[in-house]
């Protein structure tokens, strides 16, 4: 008999060829299943499910060795890391790989579930994410004896926050406001979140992919009291966003990359972060932070130590170092967010008087009177609201 690959010219031959092909295909499939079976269940399915017993980090001796820190982009000046290395002898690998809480969490969750941190000793995430990670057992408690500066210098409003009542695991990196960043030359009349839905600005508005920034601000526009926000309030606001997205009112959902749209003038206004506004304003004075009539959102990004983090001694040394007002002033003077450390204003009054006077960096009580922290979402509520919001952002 001729082999399977010989040219066939008769009909009888063709059918044996067909049969052989089927056999080969079946063998291939069987082989693949066998290989798959050897894999035993697959990596993804096994992941997930956190344990809830929390360990405390062990700090011992003088800091040394390597330290890997994951933070958001444009959050630190060029000098602080080298200064710290000189002062302590620790080698720092500072990586800017956090662009979005949800995205970052998705990336490291499979590692955390296995008790690893991917070599990271410190990661910086926003309040709600820090709390979520803590509840899942992905974070460690801090050894407070190694971070005296934090105890001494942390501003009182950031102590004993609802996400961390005993100040056990989260040390604020910077805080800030989410409000409006407006091209005042193109759209001088935008003063409120509701204005972003004005058809006049159709296709000229960006909003944040960060759900806990965008949706509560829209709820404020709808007149919802955030302290009493229900699941339905969240869903109503998401509905409004969906309509605006479908009609083309909202141009894009973005992270930090709204900066490009603002600079090029492709958008008139965005929902954005206060520190970014000041940084952008230095290149173009027409880009300004506008406190929405409805008020703003307040948040902090926190340094936390994940499970399996190598070298916690160096990690706490870093936390302690940046909570020295002198060192902190250098960071604040670069990123222009609220500093979590007392005494920075006094230092900046000498070094950078305009910054020390800015309401956006050292806000008065009146300035942020109408501002709120993002309302909490629990379990099933969170899942439902997140799914609805993702459908708007993705679809």
């Amino acid at each position: 008999m001729r082999n399977a690959w010989g040219r066939t010219d008769g009909t009888g031959r063709a059918s044996t060829r067909g049969l052989k092909l089927v056999v080969v295909a079946a063998l291939a499939l069987a082989a693949s299943l066998a290989i798959a079976a050897c894999g035993g269940g697959g990596g993804i399915e096994e992941s997930g499910g956190g344990n809830t017993s929390v360990q405390t980090v062990t700090v011992s001796g003088k800091p040394s060795g390597d330290l890997t820190i994951s933070n958001w982009p444009l959050y630190i000046d060029k000098q602080t890391v080298p200064d710290f290395e000189k002062a302590t002898g620790v080698q720092v690998k500072y990586i800017e790989d956090v662009n979005d809480n949800q995205e970052f969490f998705s990336k490291i969750q499979p590692l955390l579930a296995k008790g690893e941190s991917g070599g990271r000793s410190i990661v910086v995430v926003t309040d709600w994410m820090a709390q979520k990670m803590y509840q899942l057992g992905y974070l460690q408690n801090l050894d407070k004896s190694a971070i005296p500066n934090v105890e001494k210098n942390e501003v009182p409003t950031l102590q004993h926050r609802p996400i961390d009542p005993k100040d056990q695991y989260a040390v604020p990196w910077q805080s800030g406001m989410t409000g409006l960043i407006v091209r005042t030359d193109l759209a001088p009349d935008i003063k409120s979140v509701c204005d972003l839905f004005n058809p006049k600005y159709k296709g000229k508005v960006d909003m944040l992919t960060e759900m806990r920034d965008t949706v509560p601000l829209v709820m404020k526009c709808q007149g919802v009291d955030l302290n009493k926000a229900t699941e339905q309030d969240w869903l109503n606001a998401i509905d409004k966003l969906k309509q605006a997205a479908d009609s083309g009112q909202i141009r894009r959902f973005t992270g930090n990359d709204y900066a490009r749209d603002l600079t090029s003038g492709d958008v008139d206004a965005v929902i954005g972060w206060s520190g970014d506004a000041i940084q952008l304003q230095q290149d173009n004075p027409d880009i300004q932070f506008v406190m929405p009539k409805e008020g703003c959102m307040l948040w902090s990004d926190n340094m936390v130590i994940p499970v399996g983090a190598p070298n916690p001694t160096a990690a706490e040394a870093w936390m302690n170092y940046v909570y020295d007002p002198k060192n902190q002033a250098q960071i604040t003077d670069y990123n222009y967010y609220f500093s979590p450390v007392s005494g920075v204003k006094q230092i900046l009054q000498k070094q950078d008087p305009p910054a020390a006077k800015s309401d956006l960096i050292f806000p008065t009580k009146e300035f942020t009177a109408k501002c709120d922290a993002a309302p909490e979402l629990t379990g099933e509520e969170e899942q439902k609201v997140t799914a609805a919001f993702n459908a708007v952002v993705n679809g």
Binding site: A36, G49, G395
Partner: protein, 288 residues
């Protein structure tokens, strides 16, 4: 002995390819299929439970971007055909000594990465650009902007996949014996009749290959919609990317991937049936 070796040779020749296919196509496919039937979330872990509702849920939620993907890919394919055919024709029959240079020009943009090419379009089409100013002044930019509209996405896809349309058509036109056309004209065919009855049918395999090579990747594309589209221009590729990489809703993403694959296969099947497999297989099949 010799016959055994001869019998085994084809299998041995097939082995590297088959191994590759099984390892990197069949195995992942199997995992994807399983994954698409999982239930659970990232935090609680995924469990295999024959969750067929994943398919229904994902499709209901993401029906619009799904349909949009095929609309955009279809529009881009048709535009690319209308640009690509005359271009390929000109190169094949009128290119003369410039033929190679012109073919090089078609491929040249590919020396730059896909991403950079698309971001360049973002700059060209940005609201303040001179190009958009001109379009606005002749009333071709209804919303006052091009970027973040369907037009921008379709234009981007057309541009990025144009060479996939031009090259196969060129290859089939190039092979046409010009004497056939001369003979047709000798028999009093007008230029138009000669084109419709000789050139076009003989270039059909190229046209079909070109449309498939454009349409299939375009339907799953997400780069163009990401950079050039707005909130209401997302394609199914963007949804799958978001579900996989940001939300880590693996089951929904896997389910959507399978539906996308099935839909593309169905369309290609119908198209080939309709267009005729002879034209796809070329003269060899027709000659039988």
């Amino acid at each position: 002995m010799a016959t055994v070796r001869r019998r085994l040779t084809p299998y041995l020749l097939l082995f590297p390819g088959a191994f590759w296919l099984i390892l990197f196509f069949v195995v992942p496919m199997y995992y994807m299929a399983r994954l698409s039937l999982d239930s659970g979330t990232l935090e609680t872990g995924f469990k295999f439970t024959w969750q067929w509702s994943n398919y229904n849920d994902a499709l209901t939620l993401y029906k619009d971007p799904f349909i949009r993907a095929f609309e955009y890919a279809g529009a881009a394919t048709i535009i690319a055909l209308f640009i690509g055919y005359p271009l390929a024709y000109a190169i094949a029959f009128r290119g003369g000594k410039w033929k190679n240079a012109m073919l090089f020009a078609v491929v040249a943009p590919f020396f730059t990465t896909y991403l950079i090419r698309t971001i360049a379009w973002e700059t060209i089409l940005s609201d303040q650009s001179p190009v958009v100013d001109v379009l606005k002044s002749i009333g071709l930019a209804p919303g006052g902007h091009i970027l973040a509209t369907a037009a921008a996405v379709i234009a981007g896809i057309t541009y990025n996949f144009l060479p996939f349309m031009v090259l196969p058509i060129y290859a089939s036109l190039e092979r046409i014996d010009p004497r056939l056309i001369e003979a047709g004209k000798d028999l009093y065919a007008s230029s138009r009749a000669a084109f419709v009855r000789i050139t076009l049918p003989l270039s059909a395999p190229g046209v079909i290959a070109g449309t498939l090579l454009t349409f299939i990747p375009a339907a799953g594309d997400y780069v163009n919609a990401f950079f050039l589209g707005g909130t209401n221009n997302k394609m199914i590729g963007n949804v799958i990317q978001g579900l996989y990489l940001t939300n880590r809703d693996y089951p929904a993403a896997a389910a959507l991937s399978f539906v996308l694959m099935a839909a593309i296969m169905l369309m290609v099947f119908v198209y080939i049936r309709f267009a005729g497999s002879e034209s796809l297989m070329g003269e060899e099949a027709t000659a039988r």
